[in-house]
Symmetry: C2
Subunit: 322 residues, 2 copies
C-alpha cells in the first residue's frame, strides 16, 4: 500500500480515469448508456474533498482513497440518474438527461447498475475494517430519504426554513459528509480526528447546496456553466425563496395562483433579503468549517488545500470572490 | 456465534421477522410505503434456499446466514419494486404495486431505499471475509443487466431460445445462485463444495423461472395464487411461446399484427409442444441439480431438505406433482 501512495493531483486524475473506465468498459448491453453519461463529466468535487481529507503526513494519498472516491462519484452519478427520472428533468451537465434521451425505464435500470458499480468499487478497498467504519449504506439510506423528502415537498410553497435545511442535509450534505469522513477513514486517522472530518463534510455539503441555491437565482446559464433559473420551474423551493415568501405575503399568493414570473422571483429573492440570508447562513457554516480545519491535527499544506475546497464550495465553482 | 445457531424452521421465521422489522421500522417519511409492501408477503423461497445451503453438520444455521437471507429478500423486493416501475405493472402479490398506488417517482426512491437496507443488512454479517467471497455486488450487477436485457427485448417476438435463456440466467438465476452460494459461504464450506452450491443455485433459478413460465399459460389466478395469464400481455415473451412461434409461422404473423388472443396462445403453447419442451429443459436442469445434491459433502437430512427445495422449484410452489 505504502508504495502506491501518490500526490493529490495524480490521485485526482486516477479517480477521473477510474470513473471513465467503469463507464466505458461496461458490458455491451449497457455500454451505450453508460458511455453517454461519460460525455458530460461532472466536476468531481466530492472525490476531491475525499482525497484531500485522506492526505497523510507526507501529503500523499493511498489507493484505497482513490477507490473510495471512485465509488462516491459513481454513487453520486447513480443518484443523479434516478433524480432526473423523479424530477422529469430534461438536461444535466449541458446535455439531455438519460431519461430524456433513452426513456425512464432505461434510466431506472442504469441508475441501479451504477449503484452496483459503486458498491463493487467500494468493496475493492483493501482495508475493509476502515470501510466498515464509514458505513456507506447508512449514508446511502440518508440520501434516499433526503431525496424522498424533497420529492414529497415538491411545489410546497409552505415549506419552512427548518424543513428545507433538513431536506438538503439529507440530499446533499450526507454525501459530502460520507466523502470527507470516508477519506479520513481510509487515511487512517484516530476517532477524535474522524469526528472533525465528519462535521467538516456536513458543513461543506450545506455550504455547497446553499451556494448552489443562490446561483440558481443570480446567474445566467453561460456564466454558471450549468442549468440555472430552473429550481422553481421544477417545483424545487429553496431557501432564498422560502425567506422571500415569509417576507412578502403577496408573493406567496401569486405563487399559489401560479402567476409568478421568473423575473419577479429573481427580484424578490434579492429585495426581500432571501439571498442575503442564505449567504449569511452559509457564512456561519463556513466559519465553523474553517475552525475545524484550524483544529485538525494536520500540517499547513493540507490545511491550505482543505481551505481551497471550502472556498470553492462557498464562492461557487467559478471561484469568484464577491 | 456457535451459541446462536438455530434449526432451519426457526431461522426461516427469524428471516421473515427481520424483513418485517426492516419494513415496519423505517423512518416515518418512508414508513407508509414500506409498510404497504409488507402487506403482501412473498414466499421467501430465496431465503429458504440460502438457509438450507448454509446448514452445518449439526443441521443448524448461524446468525450470519439469517442476516444474509434477510439481505437477499430485501434485495429481491427492491428489484421487484423497480421491475414494476419498468414494466408499468399494476398488481404484485395480489395487491396494487407500489408504482400503481403511489406513483413511479415514489417507487423509484423506495426501490433505492430497499437496496440500501439490503446492503446495510449484509454489512452486518460478522464474518466479512466470507461475505467478501460471495461478491454480492457482482450478482447485483448481473441482475441489473438481466433486467435491462429483458426490457430491451420486451415485445420482441423474434427472441431466440438462446437469447431467452440468457435473459433468465441474469434476471432470475443470478439471485438464486447468489443465495445458494452465499448460504454456503457463510456456512463456511471449502472451495470445492462452494462451487457445487453455486452451480446448484444457478440450476435452481433456471428451473424456478421455467416452471413459472409454464404456470403463466396453464393456471388460473385462483389456483396459482398469483397473477398468471399475463406475461404476453406485458410484452414478456417466454420459452413456451418462443417455441410455439418457431413451430407455427401463422402464430407469429398473428402476433405481429397484434391479433393473437390469450385462448389461442394457451392452446398453441400446448399443441406446438412449447410447454413440453420447457418442462423437458427444466427437467434436464433438475437432473443436474439432483446429481449435485447427491455429490455434496452433507448428511442425508440436509440432502433431503435440498431435494425438497428443488422439488418446489420444479413442480411449482403448490408442490403439485403432475
Amino acid at each position: 500500500m505504502t508504495n502506491d501512495r501518490v500526490l493529490i493531483n495524480d490521485a485526482f486524475e486516477n479517480v477521473k480515469a477510474e470513473v471513465e473506465k467503469a463507464l466505458s468498459s461496461s458490458p455491451s448491453i449497457i455500454k451505450s448508456y453508460t458511455h453517454y453519461l461519460s460525455l458530460a463529466r461532472g466536476k468531481f468535487i466530492r472525490a476531491y474533498a475525499l482525497l484531500t481529507c485522506s492526505l497523510d503526513s507526507d501529503n500523499k494519498i493511498n489507493t484505497d482513497a482513490v477507490k473510495l472516491a471512485t465509488a462516491v462519484e459513481l454513487l453520486h452519478l447513480a443518484t443523479l440518474v434516478h433524480d432526473d427520472v423523479i424530477d422529469n428533468a430534461d438536461t444535466r451537465r449541458g446535455i439531455d438527461t438519460l431519461q430524456k434521451r433513452f426513456g425512464k425505464r432505461t434510466a431506472v435500470i442504469c441508475g441501479d447498475y451504477l449503484f452496483c458499480l459503486a458498491i463493487k468499487k467500494a468493496s475493492e478497498i483493501s482495508d475493509q475494517s476502515k470501510f466498515k467504519k464509514l458505513d456507506l449504506a447508512l449514508y446511502m439510506e440518508k440520501i434516499c430519504l433526503g431525496e424522498l423528502n424533497q420529492h414529497i415537498n415538491n411545489n410546497n410553497i409552505d415549506l419552512s426554513m427548518r424543513q428545507y435545511l433538513k431536506i438538503i442535509s439529507g440530499k446533499t450534505a450526507a454525501l459530502f459528509e460520507a466523502s470527507c469522513y470516508g477519506g479520513a477513514c481510509v487515511g487512517g486517522f484516530d476517532n477524535s480526528e474522524l469526528k472533525k472530518y465528519k462535521r467538516f463534510g456536513r458543513y461543506l455539503g450545506m455550504i455547497f447546496q446553499l451556494t448552489d441555491d443562490c446561483i440558481d437565482f443570480e446567474e445566467t446559464k453561460a456564466n454558471a456553466k450549468k442549468p440555472v433559473q430552473s429550481d422553481y420551474e421544477q417545483g424545487v423551493i429553496t431557501l432564498p425563496l422560502i425567506y422571500a415568501f415569509s417576507q412578502k405575503d403577496q408573493l406567496k399568493s401569486k405563487a399559489k395562483a401560479k402567476r409568478l414570473s421568473r423575473e419577479e422571483i429573481n427580484a424578490s429573492v434579492a429585495s426581500s433579503g432571501g439571498l442575503k440570508l442564505t449567504r449569511l447562513l452559509s457564512q456561519r457554516y463556513y466559519k465553523k468549517a474553517a475552525l475545524i480545519i484550524d483544529d485538525l491535527n494536520a500540517d499547513k499544506s493540507k490545511k491550505n488545500i482543505l481551505m481551497e475546497v471550502l472556498d470553492k464550495a462557498f464562492y461557487g465553482l467559478q471561484g469568484k470572490k464577491t
